[in-house]
C-alpha cells in the first residue's frame, strides 16, 4: 500500500500564458489577456502512489506534467518535492538532484527519441548527464538492466539499434527504460499508451504497475481515458479547464462520481453490452471553452446539464463529499 508521506505537492499551481496583444488592442488600451492553462491546482502524490490526472484535450493536464518536470515555469503557486520548494529552481546543474528523482514518459515515443541516437545512447543519456556512473562497464550494466526492466529482452540486441528500426511498443519501452535508468522516485507518464495498439497497452501498463510494486515508484498518470485511469490508479483527479473538479479514490470517482463532469466522462465511455444501468444524465454538449475566456462562476456551467443560478455567479470550492473525496460542485452535498 502507498506510503502516507507525500513525495510531491502542488499548491494552487497556476500557469498563465500571456496573449500577445496586437497594435490595435494596445492603442485602445485593452488589457492583455492570458491563456489560463492551469488555474490553481492543489494535488499531492504519495510515495509509491499512482495518481491519474484525467481530462479532455485542452484541460491543461499536459501543462501540469510539464511544470512538474520543469519544462514549463508556473506563474503562480508552488511545486514542493518532499517539502522542498522547487518552483523557482532553474538550470540543468541546479536541477540535477531533482532530475535524478523525477522522470517523464512521453506520449509520442517516436518524437521523444533522437533519430540519430542508438538505443544505448538514448538510455545512457540520463546516466551520463546526471553523472550517475563512473565507467563504461557500470553504464552498460545499468542500461541493460533498465532495458530489461522495460521488457526489452535480450537487452544487448537493442543497443545499437536506431529508433526507426523499432516497433511502436518497443520505442515506448525504450522511453520507459530511459526514465527508469536513473531509478527515479516519481515518474510523470503523459498518455504513455494512447499512441499504442490496444494489444500492446496492457503490457506497457503492466510494466508501469510493476515499477510501483517492486521499487515503490510514484506515478502521475496523465490520460483522457477514465476506465484506463481506474484500471491503473489508486486515486483519480479530474481536470476541467485548468482546475480540478473532482478528486478521490479510483473506485469512488469511477463508481460514485459526484461532479456532473465526471459523470459525463463516465457516460461517454463506450461499453460492450450497452449503457444499461448508467446514471441518467444526458451526454455533454459542445466543446471545452477556450482557456483564454474562462466562464464566470463555475467553469463547467455552460455545458452542465444541472446548471442553476448560483453556478453562473459563484465558483464552487472543493467540497468534501466522502473520505478523501472532493468535488467542486454546488450540488455535490
Amino acid at each position: 500500500m502507498p506510503d502516507t508521506a507525500d513525495i510531491l505537492r502542488l499548491e494552487s499551481l497556476q500557469v498563465h500564458f500571456p496573449i500577445q496583444r496586437g497594435l490595435f488592442d494596445r492603442v485602445l488600451g485593452r488589457p492583455a489577456g492570458a491563456v489560463r492553462a492551469v488555474d490553481g491546482i492543489d494535488l499531492n502524490i504519495g510515495r509509491g502512489e499512482i495518481v491519474a490526472l484525467v481530462g479532455e484535450s485542452g484541460s491543461g493536464k499536459t501543462t501540469v506534467g510539464r511544470v512538474i518536470t520543469k519544462l514549463a515555469q508556473p506563474t503562480g503557486g508552488r511545486l514542493l518535492f518532499e517539502g522542498r520548494n522547487m518552483t523557482a529552481e532553474r538550470g540543468s546543474s541546479a536541477l540535477r538532484p531533482y532530475r535524478h528523482r523525477v522522470q517523464m514518459i512521453f506520449q509520442d515515443a517516436y518524437q521523444a527519441l533522437n533519430p540519430r541516437h542508438t538505443v544505448f545512447d538514448i538510455v545512457a543519456e540520463p546516466l551520463r548527464s546526471l553523472r550517475l556512473v563512473d565507467n563504461v562497464t557500470q553504464l552498460a550494466e545499468r542500461v541493460s538492466k533498465a532495458l530489461a526492466a522495460a521488457g526489452l529482452n535480450p537487452a544487448g540486441d537493442f543497443f545499437s539499434r536506431f529508433p526507426h528500426e523499432l516497433s511502436g511498443g518497443q520505442r515506448q519501452r525504450v522511453v520507459i527504460a530511459g526514465a527508469l535508468a536513473v531509478k527515479p522516485e516519481l515518474i510523470i507518464a503523459d498518455e504513455p499508451v494512447s499512441m499504442l495498439d490496444v494489444s500492446i497497452r496492457a503490457q506497457i501498463l503492466q510494466v508501469l504497475v510493476d515499477l510501483r510494486d517492486k521499487h515503490n515508484m510514484a506515478l502521475l498518470f496523465i490520460t483522457h481515458d477514465l476506465p484506463l485511469a481506474w484500471l491503473i490508479a489508486d486515486r483519480i483527479a479530474v481536470l476541467y479547464l485548468g482546475k480540478l473538479v473532482e478528486i478521490g479514490s479510483a473506485d469512488e470517482i469511477t463508481f460514485n462520481p459526484r461532479h456532473p463532469y465526471t459523470v459525463a466522462l463516465r457516460n461517454a465511455t463506450p461499453q460492450i453490452g450497452g449503457n444499461a444501468g448508467r446514471a441518467v444524465l444526458p451526454a455533454l454538449q459542445g466543446e471545452v471553452p477556450s482557456a483564454a475566456r474562462v466562464p464566470k462562476g463555475c467553469r463547467f456551467h455552460p455545458r452542465c446539464p444541472l446548471t442553476f443560478d448560483r453556478c453562473k455567479k459563484e465558483e464552487p470550492p472543493p467540497i468534501e463529499v466522502g473520505p478523501q473525496h472532493l468535488s467542486a460542485c454546488w450540488l455535490a452535498k
Partner: protein, 310 residues
C-alpha cells in the same frame, strides 16, 4: 528479468570510421567526387614536380595562343606560357582559398545560427541583425576596403599566418561574407528542431544547454551543413574568380579565377582560343561538382533513416 546483463563495448574509433567510410563510399557519386577531388589535391600538392616551375612572361616556353599540341597539352596563352602549367599551379591557390573560406563560413555560420535559434529572444534578435548586416554586405566592396588597408599595414611581401596578405584578405572576405547564408539556414532548422519532443526529453534527463546543442541539435543539422558547405565551396570559388577579375587577386600566384580573367582580358573567346578559357573553367566546374556530390553523399550517410538496413 534482469539477468540478461550484456557486456557493452563502445564502438572503437577506428571501427566507427571504417563503418562511416563503408557507408560513404557505397555511393557512386561520393566515389566520383572523392576521386576527382583527390586528383586535384594531388596536383595541388606537387605542381612543380608535375609541370616544372610556374611560368611567367620571362620564362614562357611557347608561342602566342597556340592550340593544344604534343608539346603544350593545353595550348599556350597570349604571352606564350603553357596553360597546363598555369592551371596546375592555380589548383593550389584555388583549393586553399575555397576550403579555408568554407571552413570559416561554416564554423561562424553554424555557431551563430544555432545559438540564435536555440536561445531565441533577445539573443536571436541581435545575432540576426548582425547576420543581416553581413548578409547585405557586398564581398567586393569589403575586399576593396580591406585589401589596401592590410597591404598598407603588412606590405606586399609580408605574411599573415603563413599566407600572403592578398590571399589572406580574400579568404577572410569570402568567409565573412558567406556565413550569413549558412547562419540563416542553420537558425531556421534549429527553430524547428528545438520544438521536437526529444529536446524536451533531453532536458528532463538532465542534459545541459550546451550538451543539447552539441549532441542533439548539431547532428541533426549535419545534412544541411554538409549540403550547404558544398554550395559555399562552389560560391567561394566563384567569388574568388570575381575578386581576381577585379584585380584583387595575387598576381604572383595566379588562381583559376585569375586565369579566367586573364583569358577574358586577352580576348581568348573572340580569338577562338577555347583551350585558354576551357582549362580553368573545367577545373572550377569539376571541383564544384565534386563538392556537391560529396555533400549529397554525406547527407545520405549521416541520415540513418536513409540507410539500407542489412
Amino acid at each position: 528479468m534482469s539477468e540478461s546483463i550484456v557486456q557493452y563495448y563502445p564502438r572503437s574509433r577506428t571501427r566507427a570510421i571504417k563503418a562511416f567510410l563503408g557507408q560513404f563510399l557505397g555511393h557512386g557519386g561520393a566515389r566520383l567526387g572523392l576521386l576527382c577531388l583527390v586528383f586535384f589535391v594531388a596536383v595541388a600538392a606537387v605542381p612543380t614536380f608535375l609541370v616544372g616551375p610556374l611560368q611567367t612572361a620571362i620564362n614562357a616556353t611557347g608561342d602566342f595562343l597556340m592550340p593544344p599540341s604534343g608539346e603544350h597539352l593545353l595550348g599556350t596563352d597570349e604571352v606564350g606560357r603553357d596553360v597546363l602549367n598555369l592551371v596546375v599551379h592555380g589548383a593550389r591557390i584555388s583549393l586553399v582559398i575555397a576550403l579555408l573560406a568554407t571552413v570559416i563560413s561554416l564554423v561562424v555560420g553554424t555557431t551563430i545560427g544555432m545559438t540564435a535559434g536555440y536561445y531565441g529572444g533577445r539573443v536571436d534578435v541581435w545575432l540576426m541583425r548582425l547576420t543581416d548586416f553581413f548578409f547585405v554586405m557586398p564581398s567586393f566592396v569589403l575586399a576593396l576596403v580591406i585589401t589596401p588597408v592590410v597591404l598598407e599595414v603588412m606590405g606586399r611581401g609580408g605574411e599573415i599566418l603563413g599566407f600572403r596578405p592578398s590571399l589572406f584578405v580574400i579568404i577572410v572576405v569570402i568567409g565573412m561574407t558567406s556565413w550569413a547564408f549558412v547562419a540563416r539556414i542553420v537558425r531556421s532548422q534549429t527553430l524547428s528542431l528545438k520544438e521536437r519532443t526529444f529536446i524536451d526529453r533531453a532536458r528532463v534527463v538532465g542534459s545541459s544547454n550546451s550538451s543539447i546543442m552539441v549532441r542533439h541539435i548539431l547532428p541533426n543539422l549535419v545534412p544541411q551543413i554538409a549540403a550547404n558547405g558544398a554550395l559555399v565551396v562552389a560560391g567561394a570559388i566563384y567569388v574568388e574568380t570575381s575578386l581576381s577579375f577585379l584585380g584583387l587577386g595575387d598576381p604572383l600566384q595566379p588562381s583559376w579565377g585569375t586565369l579566367l580573367s586573364l583569358a577574358q582580358r586577352a580576348g581568348a573567346a573572340s580569338a577562338g582560343a577555347w583551350w585558354y578559357l576551357a582549362a580553368p573553367g573545367v577545373c572550377v566546374l569539376s571541383v564544384s561538382l565534386s563538392f556537391v556530390l560529396i555533400g549529397n553523399a554525406l547527407d545520405d550517410t549521416f541520415n540513418p533513416r536513409r540507410r539500407v538496413i542489412p
